[in-house]
Structures are given as C-alpha cells and as structure tokens.
C-alpha cells in the first residue's frame, strides 16, 4: 500500500508522536519513516506544545494516558488555539467512553495498542484526507 501519489509538495509529511512510553517513542517513528513519513517524538503534551515543530506537524499520533496534560486535554488545547491538526489517538486501555469523547471532539481515529501497521496506515489515510 503506497501512499506516495497523494503526498503534498513537502518531501515528507511530518507526523508527531506524543507518548510517555519509551517503547512507543522508539518504535513508532521508525515505522512511520518506513511508511514514507517524517516523524518526531515527544514524551509529553507540554513538550509538543512548546516545540518548534508545532506548525509543521501534519498529523498527530497521541497517547491518551499521560502524566501532566493527557491526550484529551491536548486535543482541547489545540482546539482552543485554533490548531486543526488531525489527531490519531492511541491507547493501551479499551475505554468506550473515552473513545467516543475523543471522536466527538474531532479525532480522526482511535487505535488500541498494540495495533498493526495496516491499521496505522488506514488511520493515517483517514486523518490526512480530512485536510
């Protein structure tokens, strides 16, 4: 499944990964790169908000449960700032109410860990088509 044709002018779309778990921060960017994206990882929502990449981020892969500002709160914060980056939530916990809320608030997708690369691609597809 090659996404290549529908890429926009930028060589690589920047996908930001925000997760407090180290394994995720290690593995996900590599997979994204293999999938043809540029990727950068942050260990907290606060870190992401402060980063320079904020404006360049074309898609956000966001963990729900994090110390400090959690995923849903970041979603709200971005809304408040008028930032409409498509968000793909990833979570280790299967909680229906959280999923519903996230989607209601405009999330593009909500994936449960562990997720396959296929599922990730589909989600990216969905997310990036929104723009």
């Amino acid at each position: 499944m090659n996404f290549g044709q529908e890429k926009i002018a930028d060589q690589f779309l920047l996908v930001a990964v925000v997760d407090d778990d180290e394994s995720v921060r290690e593995s996900l960017p590599d997979l994204l790169k293999e999938l043809g994206f540029a990727a950068i990882a942050f260990s907290s929502a606060e870190e992401f908000l402060c980063s320079a990449c904020l404006c360049q981020t074309r898609c956000l892969i966001l963990d729900i449960a994090m110390p400090g500002m959690n995923g849903l709160e970041l979603q709200q914060e971005l809304k408040v700032r008028g930032n409409r980056i498509p968000i793909i939530f990833i979570s280790a916990l299967k909680e229906e109410d959280v999923r519903e809320l996230a989607l209601e608030e405009g999330a593009a997708e909500f994936l449960l860990k562990p997720f396959s690369d296929t599922a990730l691609l589909q989600a990216l597809n969905t997310a990036l088509q929104v723009t």
Partner: protein, 575 residues
Amino acid sequence: MKVQLEHPADEIKRLQRCINDVVSILALPAMWGDNKPRDIVHTLLDSLLRMLNLDFVYVSLTNLVEATPSETVKVAPSQEQIFRPQELCMSLNRWLGDDPQKLYLQERSHIGDQDVSLMSWPLGVQREIGVIVAGSRRADFPQDTEALLLRIAANQALIGLQQARLFSEQKRIAYELDQRVAQRTAELAAANEILRKEIVERTRAEEALKRSETFLAEGQRLSRIGSFSWRVETGEITWSEELYRIFGFEQDVVMTLDLIATRVHPEDIPLMNDMVEKALDSVRDFEYKHRLLMPDDSVKYLHLIAHGIRDNDGRLEYIGAVQDVTQRQISEEALAKARFELADVARVTSLAMLTASIAHEVNQPLSGIVTNASTCLRMLTLDPPNVEGARETARRTIRDGNRASDVIMRLRALFSKKASITEQVDINEATREVVALTLSELQRNQVVLRCELAADLPLVTGDRVQLQQVILNLLQNASDAMCGIDDRPRQLFVSSKLEEGDRVRLSVQDRGVGFDPQAMDRLFEAFYTTKNDGMGMGLSVSRSIIEKHRGRLWATLNDGPGATFSFTIPYTTNT
C-alpha cells in the same frame, strides 16, 4: 431319851400330844408360803412358845448381807414383866458366845435374877443359818418330848430358812441378771443408735458423693474433658467415663498404654513414645497435643496435660486431663481457610481495580513489539534491505518482549492464590514494584506520586506478596480518596523509615477527602466502605495481614487535607 414310866395312860397321852405337836410343826411350812425369813421365825417362835409352854424363845439369824445377826425374841405373855427383851438378848448372846462347840446346849443358867433352863439348837450344822434358844424356869426343862419338838421345829425352820435364803438368793441373782440385761440392752440400744446415725451419715455422704460424681461426669461430658491417672510403676491406668467415650472404647475395659496406642494417629506415635519415655524418667508436668485416628477413619484432636506426683510410698503417679479440641481445631482451620479466601476476594477485587494498570503495562511493550516487527519487515523488503535497521528493531522487540514478560510475571505473582511464604523482604523494593505496577493508573487519575524510601532499611520477615497487597491497597485507597479533588494537586507521598523499637515503617499520605475521626476504628472493619462500588474488604484484610506479621496498621488525619495510612513491622535481628 429318858422314858418316865409313872402312868402308862398318861404317858400314852403325853406321847400322843407330842406326835400331834410334831404333825403341827411339820405343817408349819405351809404357812411360810412367801418365804419371808421374818415370818418363818415369828410363826416358829409363836408355835414353840405355845407348844412347849416356854417362858421365852430366842432366834439369832446370821445375816447374809450384813455381818450383824438379826435377833428375835419372844416372851410368853405371862413372863413379860420378868424378862425384858433387850436384856434377854444380851444375856443370851453372852451365854452363847462364839464358841462353835457350844452348839447343842442344855444348861441351867442365870438370866437377870432368875434361874432358867436353857436349850440351844443350831440352825444349820455349823450355826451358819443361826441358832435357836428356848428358855424356861422349870427345872425339868427340856423334857425328852420337848427337846424332840424343838429339834424338829429347828429343822423345819432350818429348811424353811434355807429355802427362803435360796429363794432370796435366786431373786437377787434374777434381779441382778435383769439389771445386767437391762444395762446391756441399753448399751446395745445406744450402740445401735450410734450405728444408725452413722449409717444415715454414710448414706448422706454417699449420696453427696454420687451427686458430685454425676456433676463431674456431666461436666466432663459437656466440656469433652476426660481425666486419668497413671501409676507408672505398676502401669495401672484409670480413666474417667468421658475419656472412654472420647477414645471410643467400651466402659470398664482395662486400660493399657498399648491399647491407647491403637487409637493414637500413626504420625503422632513417635510423639507419644517420647512423652512416655520422658514420663518414666522422672516426675514432671507435661502437656502436648496429638491426634487420634478412629476406627471410622475420622480424626480427633486432643489436648493433654498431666501433673506428676509422688504418692505416700514415694511411687510416681501422673494425674491428668485430656480435652477433645476437634471442634475448635476444625473451627480454627475453617476460620483460617475463610480468611485465606477472604484475602483472595480482596485480591480479586484489587485485581479488578488494577485491570487498567495490567492492560497498560502489558500493552505498551506489546505495542512496541508489533510496531518494531512491522518496521523490521519493511526494512527487510527494501532493495537493498536495511539490515542495520532491521537488527535494531529486532533488538528492541526482544527487549520489549522481556519487559512484557516481567510485568506479567510480577502481576501473576501478585495475584496468584498461593499459600503464605515466609522470606526476608525488602519493604522498599516491594514498594517500588507495586508503584511500578500502579504508576500508569495513578497518573491516569492525575495523581502525583512522590517516594521517599529510607536507605539501608533492614529486611523484615514475612510474605512478600501479602505485604505488596497491603501496599497496593493503601495506594489505591489514597488515589480513590483524591478522586474528586480539583482545587489542589493530588499529591501522594509514600515514605519508609526505620522506627524505634526495631520496626520498619511505611506511610502512604494523600491529600484527599480524609475520613470522619469518629469512624476511625470502623475504617478497618470488614464490609465498611465509603466508596460507591467498594466492597469494604481492603483495609480489613490489610490489617489482618499486618497483624499476622506482628505489626500494626493505623490511620491518622493530616494537619492539612487528607489522611495518612501507616504500618510498622518488626524487623529481624540476626536470626
């Protein structure tokens, strides 16, 4: 006998008169019907006085009872002026004297100022009954017939008096016999009375004894305690009824150590042998518990105590009691089992509450694994393949796999239903592990955790898993207490330190809703909960775990908001 042949016809008349008199005298006894000596003497004297025409007649009787003789004198009415009785007695006494030869006397003597003819005749061959003296002033007294009459009269009197004496003797003997019999009868009656009283006493005592024995037997039956005595030298063993019942033997079967051994549980036989050996050795008190294996294969638990004494002859004897504590044992075992299962329920409850953490802890590394594997495959399908990259992803996969495995092992250890294991436990390490497991959950609940675990904390002896359950319980409660708190940070402070008195202390402090100080004791009660979906098991089980470790679990309210739950456990000092 001098015969005077003056006139034969007169003589014949005189002799006829004599014979008549003899017949009269022979008839005298008929008048002595009631055998009174006094009467005999009087009728005799009267008859003689009359028949012989005496002036006086005197009888002296030896008194059986007293030494002094009784004297009786009768004077013919016509002579009463001449002869005074008292003077007569004295004179006759003097005349008689004590000479035993003077038995049959006939003499002319002088009494007062009169000349009298006296005749004496003994009553009894040696005057043993008495003597009779007849007196007349006639010079020819006594004539032959008169002497004969006197002799016959004396004989009759003698017979009569002897009979009287015999009779009186008989009466006296009979009286004495009666007296003696009466006395003996009274004595016997008294003795009988004493015996009767004794019997009543004994019967009463026996009844009291029976009652007390019944009480004892009943008491033994109710309390399932039987008593025994064991004379070591002779091997004689005595059992109470209840003990027979406990062991399931027929009453009154002769008890021996061998017979007892047939009931003792095979595994406890060495214990019994050891006890017997020690007991034979010397006087000592002993106490031990052992089981019985009954014929129907049921098991009884017995608790035995015995006290050794030396009896009066210095021989060793043991007196003891045996209680059937099977019920208590069963109850205790059931209680222990219930506690165990309760702890299990508490564990399951906390398991449910940790589902979030489990999922989280395991899914994170799993996610890493899946992602890395996908990356790996993609790298390898490139042309040329990115081997370096693939290697790196493979490495990460293995690492994450191990991480997941560790978590699962720790979780499994925490939630497996195992029997208690005692080991040396580092409280700090145990705390860190629990924190690691709950961290994500705590963070999800916006709880900020701070740990200050004292360095070089001594090890405590206990069940690591159980202690971790307590720590887990405290952390969850602290987190729950801060559930709705929004006006301040949800700070959770876990600390450990060394306490005075060789104890290790762990405290979990929250800034939550606290608790009602009045309900402080209730906090640790089973089924007490302030949570909507709480079961109220956690603190109650936690406390019993800590107490099993000879420690204490308690709660205090903070100066600020929230509460602090702490426990202390004594640590081992060089065992």
